[in-house]
């Protein structure tokens, strides 16, 4: 079945991103298709490549990047939410006159329409948040 996922909280502060990851991985391993994972609200903070979690803890960001690579997963970060919170890719940094960007591999920045499209295209949409 074709599933869509929305993640509304950032890494570490709340379990939402962990739950979404564990759910997504289980769905993929069962052979389901994940149409898209959409990161909204503080969820956009899952997409920063600048995290340095403690050695003995999970790396939330890398886990998403690796899952994306393994399954060709579409990880979309909401542009409006990302701008508010300081999550930029190279283009966005340039466009907004910022001297750095921080997006991690496997994530792309796009509009809210991508969430609606996920709602339309996926057979089920699951929201993970606080």
């Amino acid at each position: 079945m074709k599933l869509g996922i929305m993640v509304s909280e950032g890494p570490y502060q709340h379990q939402a991103s962990d739950s979404a990851y564990n759910f997504t991985k289980a769905a993929l391993e069962k052979g389901h298709e994940i149409f898209r994972v959409f990161f909204y609200h503080d969820g956009v903070n899952n997409a920063t490549r600048l995290t340095v979690p403690p050695q003995d803890d999970r790396n939330v960001v890398n886990r998403w990047s690796e899952l994306s690579k393994q399954y060709d997963l579409d990880l979309v970060v909401c542009i409006a939410a990302a701008q508010r919170r300081g999550l930029l890719d190279e283009n966005e940094a340039k466009r907004n006159g910022k001297d750095a960007n921080n997006i991690a591999e496997g994530f792309r920045i796009s509009g809210l329409g991508q969430l609606i499209e996920a709602g339309i295209q996926a057979e089920r949409l699951v929201v993970f948040g606080d």
Binding site: Q15, A16, F23, A27, H32, E123, G129
Partner: protein, 101 residues
């Protein structure tokens, strides 16, 4: 059939209460993250959950329950346990998922 997911402790937030008010007969409720506390025996919400189970099927995400120091013997009788794969099955078997954040 709707799958309702509740990730908040019933002690901390009103999500479970509203969920149970608006869930219809035959629906499923999945308790996960801090929501799993509602599935444990002996809390002041036990009666509320048992009453809800007359109409709804209640599931608990066992990994979250165990993380919080509880075992299946601490579960209210009749609560079904699932792992993440079982969570996925609940989603695909339902017509829609409603998250009570």
């Amino acid at each position: 059939m709707t799958l309702h997911t509740v990730n908040k402790s019933p002690f901390e937030a009103n999500s479970l209460e509203t969920c149970l008010r608006l869930a219809r007969s035959g629906h499923s409720v999945l308790l996960f993250e801090d929501g799993v506390y509602a599935a444990s025996k002996g809390t002041k919400f036990e009666a509320m959950l048992i009453k809800a189970m007359q109409n709804c099927k209640v599931h608990v995400l066992l990994p979250d329950f165990e993380a919080r120091g509880m075992k299946t013997e601490n579960l209210i009788a009749g609560v079904n346990t699932v792992d993440y794969a079982g969570f996925v099955d609940l989603v695909t078997e339902s017509e829609r998922v409603q998250s009570w954040l």
